[in-house]
């Protein structure tokens, strides 16, 4: 497998920016730890989205980076302080996951270690650990209406993270519907993985070369735009 070291890649903020295009007005959205949490920065307040966090806020505002403005009792699941927004409410952990399990989350965006061609999600158990921490991602993966994964296309050592068959313990089977990486957007369909968008500087064939799973390239594949 060629490494294509010299080719362009989106940084984390740009990946989040691309992902923010999938967040539409009126949606209830849950952003997992890591790159997904950056997405809210690209959703302007006028686009009225309700961001849900597992630890019990529905409808929080922007992430706060001013220590003086921080309320330690208004944080998201990643521990980031967030703004109070009009229309928000607090809830207990059981109520928060009742909301998730009941199917009321329109989209969840999660980080991952691997995604399978069948939509399997493996995001909790890094290689070499005796156990992993399954956290709150599992309920989101099983119960959100749509699961979007944001992750780099390959590991630091160059291994593909989009696998024909995942080889890490799974968080949830056949749940992912879209993967947004640093070089492409790939949809999981009943007919397998379909390449939707490719970063400028890459050809579909090159994306396939760095992807373990087989990709279908439709005629309407487009350039990934931010």
């Amino acid at each position: 497998m060629t490494n294509f070291e010299d080719k362009p890649r989106l940084d984390e903020w740009s990946m989040a920016m691309r992902a923010s295009q999938d967040v539409r007005e009126g949606m209830i959205v849950n952003l997992g730890m890591g790159i997904p949490m950056l997405v809210s920065a690209f959703v302007e307040p006028e686009r009225e989205v309700m961001f849900h966090t597992e630890n019990g806020i529905i409808g929080y505002g922007r992430v706060i980076d001013d220590a003086d403005a921080v309320d330690p009792n208004c944080v998201n699941a990643g521990g980031q302080p967030v703004e109070r927004a009009p229309g928000m409410s607090f809830m207990s952990h059981d109520d928060s996951f009742a909301l998730i399990r009941g199917g009321w989350i329109d989209v969840t965006m999660l980080g991952s270690l691997q995604v399978g061609a069948n939509g399997d999600l493996a995001n909790y158990h890094p290689p070499g650990k005796v156990v992993g921490s399954i956290g709150g991602a599992q309920d989101l993966a099983y119960c959100a209406k749509k699961v979007v994964v944001l992750m780099t296309h390959r590991t630091k050592s160059g291994a593909s993270k989009i696998m024909q068959q995942v080889d890490l313990p799974i968080t949830a089977p056949t749940c992912v519907s879209r993967v947004i990486t640093d070089i492409a957007v790939v949809d999981v369909t009943p007919d397998g993985l379909v390449l939707r968008e490719v970063l400028s500087g890459w050809t579909p064939d090159e994306v396939q070369q760095v992807t373990d799973a087989e990709l279908t390239v439709p005629d309407d594949v487009v350039e990934l735009s931010l």
Partner: protein, 255 residues
Amino acid sequence: MPVNKVFDTFDAAVADVVDGSMIHVGGFGTAAEYPSYLIAALARSGVSGLTLTGNHSGFSEDQLKMMKDANLGIIKYPDDYVSPGLLVQRGQVAKGIYAFPVLNRGLEVPFETLLNEGKVELELIGQGSLAERIRAARAGIAAFYTPVGVGTVVAEGKEVRDFDGRPHVLEHALKADVSIIRAHKADRYGNLVYKGTARTFNATMAGAAHLTIAEVDEVVELGELDPECIVTAAPYVQRVVVRPATMSTSWETPC
């Protein structure tokens, strides 16, 4: 004699917790949510062989000191923040029922060390099923079927049954001997309100044990809490202790 659930000290409030107890420990991720003084009192009591449930297994004293010094994130760790990891580190814990037993990267928390050494037992469970199992105990539900976890490690050895064509796993209620939680305000009946995201597992665990002890910022006059806004109703809480006006800077100081 009027009903009064307020205890004078944290030590007195946990004095009858016995070895081998199962304890729900409230909190989620940040310092402001944990019942720090109750955790410290359990550390001082030396009670052992505990089964703890909670989101996270917690940090060691050294790790906390490091994090305080580094001021990780922009939320500061107060000096009186005691993590449930203290009980793990001190060998008081035999088993953990956690969603986050370890950190997936970085620090090795005390529970991970002991797990690798075979000195503690782990029951790994997703946050949602953990929260619902605790809620089930409060609500007198013995067990329930959830779609979450089927086909993964958390469902191993558990009954799976189809409902409406979708497989569901049978999860059992988790009723503890003691719940230790943190709330904002209480009255002498034990009614509680929380502050923002500190509600989390604290409100979930209230009443999910034979004995619920709440660590609060303040006890207010009966009737001061709005009956429309009380989150935890009085019957669920047996003991209330107020956090000290002057911050305790060592968990070892009786309090």
